[in-house]
């Protein structure tokens, strides 16, 4: 069974993997401040995992990435997103109850104009970004793993 690509690709993957993860999590964390959000950052993190899978092969990451665990995490993200939608059900579905009130992301009204960098603001937006980010990164990684393993199985037949 093929275990991965050449040593050049594996070395570059080792170099790029960490910064790609950090950038992806940064895009998810700062979804309510800077361009990007849960979907985009989750896709960046998933692309880092996909790079790992392509470079080291399905056998190389066996035991580190489990498709069923990833699927469970994806469902947890989906349920968290739905639960956050129900937080403001007293007013309306997806009403932002936490904005401008309370200690959890209910920070001050952000000053108008360009990015002021107030992280503790946005109400449910950061929490929803984290939920969607978890969902997207684990979901796409699970798809890539399942397809890679399935393709390898077909190849070896």
């Amino acid at each position: 069974m093929n275990t991965g690509m050449s040593v050049i690709v594996r070395t570059i993957t080792r170099l790029v993997y960490g910064p790609a993860l950090v950038f992806g999590f940064y895009v998810i964390m700062h979804g309510h401040l800077t361009p990007g959000g849960g979907f985009q950052g989750g896709a960046v993190v998933a692309s880092a995992f996909a790079l790992l899978l392509v470079a080291f092969g399905a056998a190389g990451v066996k035991g580190h990435l489990n498709a069923h665990l990833l699927q469970t995490l994806e469902e947890i993200g989906a349920l968290a997103f739905l639960a956050l939608g129900f937080v403001g059900i007293g007013t309306a579905f997806f009403y932002n109850l936490l904005a401008n009130s309370g200690p959890l992301f209910g920070g001050p009204v952000v000053p108008l104009g360009s990015n002021s960098g107030v992280f503790n603001a946005g109400g449910t937006l950061p929490l929803m970004n984290w939920a969607v980010g978890l969902k997207v990164m684990t979901g796409i990684t699970a798809i890539v793993i399942a397809m890679l393993v399935g393709a390898r199985k077909e190849e070896s037949e």
Binding site: H32, G37, F94, P111, V132, G139, I143
Partner: protein
């Protein structure tokens, strides 16, 4: 003969698109800008988020995002079910 038909079809579609392009509105001037103006003016005060796009996606249009998330969930479940079938066959 076949090439002539393809050429005529291509020219027809291209002329149609060019005709539509001549009557397009100028860039940055949509016919209805009321919602855009509301989002730009009220996002930072109502949602306390600097990123107006995230505010629209997760707050004002949260229900759309729920649909998107459901699409991704369906895709993951479908792919895993498809390849699990292949794995069961091998046993």
């Amino acid at each position: 003969m076949k090439k002539a038909i393809i050429l005529v079809a291509f020219l027809f579609v291209a002329a149609f698109l060019l005709l539509a392009a001549t009557s397009m509105r100028p860039f940055g001037e949509p016919s209805f800008a009321d919602m855009d103006d509301y989002f730009i003016a009220h996002t930072q005060a109502e949602v306390a988020a600097n990123n107006a796009v995230t505010a629209v996606v997760f707050d004002y249009r949260g229900f759309d995002t729920l649909g998107e998330a459901t699409v991704l969930f369906a895709a993951v479940v479908g792919v895993l079910a498809l390849f699990r079938k292949l794995r069961e066959d091998e046993r």
